[in-house]
Amino acid sequence: MKKILAPEITKIVADLCIQANTVLRTDVLDALKTALRKEKNKRSYGILEKIIQNARIAKKEKLAICQDTGMACVFLQVGQEIKIAGDLKKAINKGIEIGYRKGFLRDSIIKNPLLRGKPAYQPAIIHIDIVKGDKLKITVLPKGFGCENKTQLKMFMPTAGIEKIKNFIIEVIKKAGADACPPFVVGVGIGGTADCACLLAKKALLRKLTTNDQRPTTNNQRPTTSLEQGLLRDINKLNIGPMGLGGKTTALAVNIETYPTHIAGLPVCVTISCHALRSASKTL
């Protein structure tokens, strides 16, 4: 049985925190560059240029891409044939603490949500999936709250139909508007229970972005691909644009994840990421 020591996990989590916060994901950077090429609105073009320039500076100088270095969300895929020696959750939170301090990232986490008080770096939000095999995959997604605050869950009637769901997603985007730092990446979770739909939406943000120009061929399309493409087209007609100042680029991508659900329900969660969608992974 493969054995992984807790301190090893701590070190990896610390490194992933710094990597995610200072090096913008290549798929996100590519999507921004694609958007820049298409943007006709002069002001929006200028803002997109600044966003790309910001990512370049952050990487070169090891600075946080955004001052909101988020609440660290950690996703683990633990192969069932692995033995982890030590306290896994403690190891993760220790990694967050070390990584955030070492990377000069922001302490944005308060212990008591009601009493508030002085901020700290952790705890993280930890999601653990047990999977087949003997690998351990660790992903860190630092989630900023300008966009997290715009998340919405709606429990639809099972007979609601696709149009109502599309309208809901569009309404969430409109309400997010300038506040949530467009251009967005939109994560949608459909199905399961309420909590499951929210988690699916968050996990959708981890999937590699594909713009409408670079979709996979018809034989390996996901069942939600055409829905994602249609929604992206509709969202980019809203004229919200970078910083909410207009233009063609309101979203870079829409990622939908689904799960079986109950005959009596149809949960839909829409979560938004700002243009600084940050995550980093490592597999052991």
């Binding site: 320039q53 500076i57 946080a64 891409i65 300008g146 508007g177 506040d179 700002c274 600084a276």
Partner: protein, 189 residues
């Protein structure tokens, strides 16, 4: 040509700023976000002395990351302005003339901007690394216990701004996504 303003906004400078203008600020600005605003409003309500003189000053809605070694400040982009909407009119009444942030403002803030003749600016959201290049000096001057939410005095050079609401109350978001804003305002009011 890009206009240049100072950190002390007199009437002549304010009158020269029109919605949509791209502006650079040179001089001193102060950071303050949610918890600092809550405290400042308490001080104003209790008629105590403010830890910073707000007269003609600019507040930047920002909670920077710590400064790495050899740097003045870390990443320092704007946070969502609407969370400061309830507090902003009190600060404007106390003499504040400029606010820098991201996103839209409430009708109450727009009215207060007109009444007290102030300006609301946007700066580049999610570009904290880029903006850190415009900060020449930074020090905490109040509420150190709030960590990143403390009030920092920043000396800035060519810090880029866009006039979002001018002193006549003209709003950059009015002529753009009007529908989106209406939906948003219905939701929060």
């Amino acid at each position: 040509m890009t206009k240049i303003i100072s950190g002390l906004l007199d009437k002549a400078q304010l009158q020269n700023l029109n919605v949509g203008d791209e502006v650079f600020v040179n001089g001193i600005i102060y950071t303050a976000r949610d918890q600092a605003h809550k405290r400042l409003v308490e001080v104003i309500k209790n008629r105590k002395k403010l830890p910073v003189n707000l007269k003609d000053r600019i507040i930047y809605y920002c909670g920077p990351t710590p400064a790495p070694k050899g740097k003045v400040i870390g990443s320092c982009g704007p946070t969502t302005s609407s969370r400061m909407d309830e507090c902003a009119p009190f600060l404007l009444e106390a003499g504040l003339k400029g606010m820098i942030g991201k996103g839209i403002r409430s009708q109450e803030v727009i009215s207060a901007i007109k009444k007290y003749e102030a300006v609301y600016f946007l700066t580049y959201a999610g570009c904290g690394a880029l903006l850190s290049k415009c900060v020449k000096k930074a020090k905490v001057i109040a509420y150190k216990d709030l960590g990143p939410e403390a009030i920092y005095e920043l000396e800035v050079r060519n810090f880029p701004l866009i006039v979002a609401i001018d002193l006549e109350g003209k709003n950059i978001y009015d002529r753009l996504n009007k529908e989106a804003i209406d939906i948003y305002l219905n939701k929060i009011h």
